[in-house]
Amino acid sequence: MEKERILIIGGGPAGLEAAYNLAENNYAVTIFEKDTEIGGNIKKWVKLFPDFGDAAEVRKNFKDKVTRQDIDIKTDISINELYSENGKWFAKNSSGNVYEGNAALLATGFETFNASRKEELGYGIYNNVITSVEFEQMYKTGKIITAEGKTPERIAFLNCVGSRDEKVGNHYCSRICCINAVKQAIEFKELVPDAEAYCFYMDMRMAGQFYEELYRKSQEKFGVTYIRGRISEAAGTIDNRIQIKSEDTLTGLPLKMTVDLLVLMVGIESSDSTTALAKQNEINGEYGFAKSVGLHGSDNLTKKEGLFLAGSCKRPLTLPETIADGRAAAIQIIEFLKLKVKN
């Protein structure tokens, strides 16, 4: 008998973990990845919080796990349409090819906030205002420098860019950027111990194992200075530095300072494919994310029979949560397919 096939949209950690577990349970899998390489957002990272784990290593392990005959990986393919007919699921790409499966898993992940939408922060205007993703790419080269090639003497990180902000329509917290700021501030101080590192925050949300400890270490061992206040504006100076203004809310005084580099901790937003495919299937939730049936116990199910969800297409999730969710989705899919055979 031919194996039943599951269509997985998205070759990031959620999709890959689900694929591996389905294949281990004797199902055939097709993964559709829009990029040239699988790995999703991990591709952008060098070290992972909170343990400074090697992102390349994590990617390699995934690749090894899913490189097998029963997993068909189709890269450079964007799925534009996802629909069901007579109990089967179909995925159609931009050139009109249609792929068929017995169930479908949406694992289309997230995209980071486009920082130029917050014009007052100067991203896209001043070269020395960068995003946390660009910091990561620069870190890959082994040094952090300004647009002029100078080693910064002062760097500032600004939390909650594109999150917790009604002005951009995102009321939610992205959950990963606080700890990422702590991680990147430490990485910077390791590279340039004599420089000053500042982090502007509204709340330090250290709600993960070892997050608080890392925050404490960043203060105690690395001397990172935390200022509670949201930067209201950033302006370029004549020597291409960045002048920032905020309130130091714990002193109750306005505060200004000039930095060599300003790093915007961009939040998580729903990816375009998540939003489009969720809408087509009427499982669109808030902020463009896909909506599961319920948080407690049915978080991988959708109201569409045979369509499942995994990972940060639902909401901002950390990497370990995403991986666990991929595995959970696989179990739900297996249960569903077994029940179908029985009936």
Binding site: E196, Q219, E220, G223, R228, L250, T251, L255, K256
Partner: protein, 114 residues
């Protein structure tokens, strides 16, 4: 002097480009635990002096950190060095040592001219 009906007010606010923030580094060398202060305010909440005057140790500490030294000396005179603040601190900050050392630093520097 002629009264024009308005006066020029001193700029209020912290300018970290000109403030002397290195003084805190020296303080932190003496009292390393100062670096891990969260500014939670438990110390001031429990302080008897804070409850009866406008003295606030947390704020004095933060102002020192930001290089805003004016009035801190006078404020610190209200502290009795009783150590109650140290008992409640969730980050184990040696608050009393900070107060003691801030006084020494402030005595030794002509902070009004910084």
């Amino acid at each position: 002097m002629k009264n024009w009906g308005y006066k020029i007010s001193k700029p209020r606010g912290i300018d970290l480009d000109t403030a002397n923030i290195k003084e805190f580094d020296k303080l932190a060398e003496k009292v390393p635990s100062a670096k891990r202060c969260l500014m939670c305010g438990a110390c001031s909440a429990t302080c008897s002096a804070t409850n009866h005057t406008d003295f606030n140790f947390r704020k004095c500490h933060l102002m020192f950190r930001r290089g805003q030294f004016e009035n801190i000396s006078e404020e610190l005179d209200k502290c009795m060095l009783c150590g109650k603040c140290k008992l409640v601190c969730p980050r184990g900050v040696n608050t009393r040592a900070i107060i003691y050392n801030m006084r020494i630093f402030l005595n030794n520097m002509d902070y009004k001219n910084i």
